[in-house]
């Protein structure tokens, strides 16, 4: 089973939920797919056993074969290739902009001269490790790299189907989030009861409904702000899975990278209950289909 932890708004507590849920259950694999700003390792402190470089394929032109026909420029939907045709006194030139390339392979497949081959460009690293009984995998995007979805897809290749998989997703509602949560059996949307939290929760709910992934809401710092998130969930029939009130103690323990279940074992029971609740919702959804 794959449970992803997402939120529209950043900083609502995705990593807190992912880490504490992972520590409360058995036979867990935790995947940190927030590859732009991975943080779960700060709380889990896994022993990293393997470090692998992650690449995307980008084109490389063999100048000896290229006749500067411009086909590659024409087929590239991302404007990642420019071709300057040559003349009697000057050789032509093909310019490649790797940061725009999505690695679709159109240029190399369709080059009439077979002058393009794909070479690997490093975009980040994937680290695999473990802590106690938790298998841990995360990706870390290189600085200056624009596109995180290819790295997220590569992290997800390490999904271990024999375990309960918890995915810590990035914030937002666009491609990185979609790539991270796609294929999940359930998604926990973490929010806070403020106008920002509600506004971004509504966006995230629309995303999950489009992707047809069952979901529930986790309200963090539940005693600040107002009651509008509760009302919204009630009106929309969205299950509220769990609430954590604001406490300075929890905030301090988070700041130091100490998961709350390690400070207060009552929270472990709450997270186990949330997990049982999630399983019930998934089973009900499956039996309806």
């Amino acid at each position: 089973m794959i449970i992803s932890i997402a939120s529209g708004k950043g900083g609502t507590g995705k990593t807190t939920v992912a880490v504490n849920l992972a520590l409360s259950l058995k036979n867990i694999q935790l995947l940190d797919c927030d590859v732009e700003e991975p943080n779960a390792h700060l709380f889990i402190q896994p022993r990293i056993k393997e470090e692998l470089k992650a690449y995307i394929p980008v084109p490389e032109v063999n100048e000896a074969k290229c006749n500067y026909c411009g086909k590659c420029r024409e087929v590239c939907a991302y404007h990642a290739i420019a071709v300057l045709p040559g003349n009697e006194c000057k050789k032509g030139n093909v310019l490649i902009f790797p940061h725009l390339c999505h690695g679709c392979g159109a240029c190399s497949l369709l080059c009439p001269q077979s002058a393009i081959k794909e070479v690997n460009k490093e975009i980040g690293v994937i680290e695999i490790g473990e802590k106690d009984n938790i298998q841990f995998v995360h990706g870390c995007l290189n600085i200056g790299e624009a596109m995180s979805p290819p790295l997220i897809r590569q992290v997800k290749k390490y999904i271990n189907p024999t375990r309960t998989v918890i995915i810590d997703a990035p914030p937002g509602t666009s491609c990185p989030v979609i790539t991270a949560v796609k294929g999940s059996d359930f998604c926990v949307l973490v929010t806070e009861p403020t106008p920002f939290g509600l506004n971004d929760l509504i966006l995230a709910v629309e995303v999950l409904r489009k992707l047809q992934i069952p979901f529930g809401v986790f309200i963090n710092r539940s005693d600040i702000g107002d009651g509008k998130v509760d009302n919204y969930c009630g009106e929309e029939n969205i299950p509220i899975l769990m609430k954590i009130p604001f406490s300075r103690e929890i905030a301090v323990s988070y700041s130091e990278g100490v998961p709350i279940v390690k400070k207060d074992s009552l929270y472990q029971d709450k997270f186990i209950n949330m997990y049982i609740n999630i399983c019930t919702i998934i089973n009900e959804a499956n039996s309806r289909h």
Binding site: N39, G105, A106, A146, G172, D200, L211, D226
Partner: protein
């Protein structure tokens, strides 16, 4: 004209709360919300939308059932796994490269332009405001950011404004890079947590990579004085000016719930500190 972007790396550190206050403090400026996939600044600025535009970007493959002979050539060439076994396109996986439509022997696949979102030019009591809404589950957020920044810059030039103040997105990827490129300076808002420090260091590296000078503010600094000091030590070491330390104050959430900016809603050391940050930032 000076372009200033507020970024953080980690989400939820207070970018929008601070940007809202800058809107109230700065004169002769335009505001821009570049967190296009979870935009919140409008909840503080209460814009009256004057112009609304479709944002067309990217394309999605569409298979014509009548022309498709189910030969299967398209499936292995798609690197994004977007063509299902029943020869339909999984919209959210398609990245619009068009390779399938180029190689289909029966010309059964065409590419349709996406409406990936909307952008707006609005009036607010704080002056002009450019903002956007990325379509649900759409891509190309970086391009939408670039678009609204270009519009904001044009308005700023036409009206001879002094500042373009940009509320940026979290992370370090494509929309962040689009928010950073060509600005005069970036203001990093962070919090005294290990995650906040870690992420601020990463986003600072991104700014450095693109040659953008940065300043830093520690929000909720009194939640962990030890880590706040670590952040400041990092800044001293790297020559990053620390423009302020904003205390944790529940009144900030009260202001938010009322849809008001902090500096207008409360008279407290927190508001004074934000005013002080703006005084330093503008000079």
């Amino acid at each position: 004209m000076k372009q200033i972007v507020v970024i953080s790396g980690k989400g939820g550190t207070g970018k929008t709360v601070l940007s809202g206050s800058l809107a109230a403090l700065a004169n002769n400026k335009i505001m821009v919300d570049c967190d296009v996939d979870a935009a919140d600044l409008h909840l503080l600025l209460h814009p009256k939308v004057k112009e609304r535009h479709e944002f067309k970007s990217g394309q999605t493959a569409l298979i014509d059932r009548k022309l498709c002979k189910r030969c299967g050539k398209c499936i292995p060439v798609c690197r994004f796994g977007a063509i299902k076994d029943d020869f339909t396109i999984e919209r959210f996986s398609c990245e619009g490269c068009g390779l399938c439509s180029l190689i289909c022997p029966h010309k059964a696949i065409r590419m349709e332009e996406d409406v990936a979102g909307e952008w707006f030019v609005s009036d607010t009591q704080y002056g002009p405001f450019v903002h956007a809404k990325l379509g649900i589950a759409e891509e190309n957020s970086g391009k939408l950011v670039a678009k609204i920044r270009q519009i904001a810059k044009e308005i700023a030039e036409k009206k001879a404004l002094d500042y373009v103040i940009i509320d940026g997105p979290p992370g370090i990827g494509c929309p962040v890079i689009a928010s950073l490129s060509g600005v005069d300076c970036a203001l990093i808002v962070t919090e005294p947590t290990l995650s906040g420090l870690h992420d601020a260091q990463r986003v600072r590296e991104v700014a450095k990579h693109f040659n953008i000078s940065v300043n830093l503010v520690v929000n909720k600094y009194d939640l962990n004085l030890g880590i706040a000091e670590k952040i400041e030590a990092f800044c001293r070491e790297q020559g990053i000016p620390v423009l302020g330390r904003i205390a944790f104050d529940k009144k900030i959430v009260e202001a938010l719930v009322k849809g008001k900016t902090v500096v207008e809603h409360i008279s407290s050391p927190v508001a004074e500190e934000i005013k002080n940050i703006w005084e330093q930032l503008k000079s």
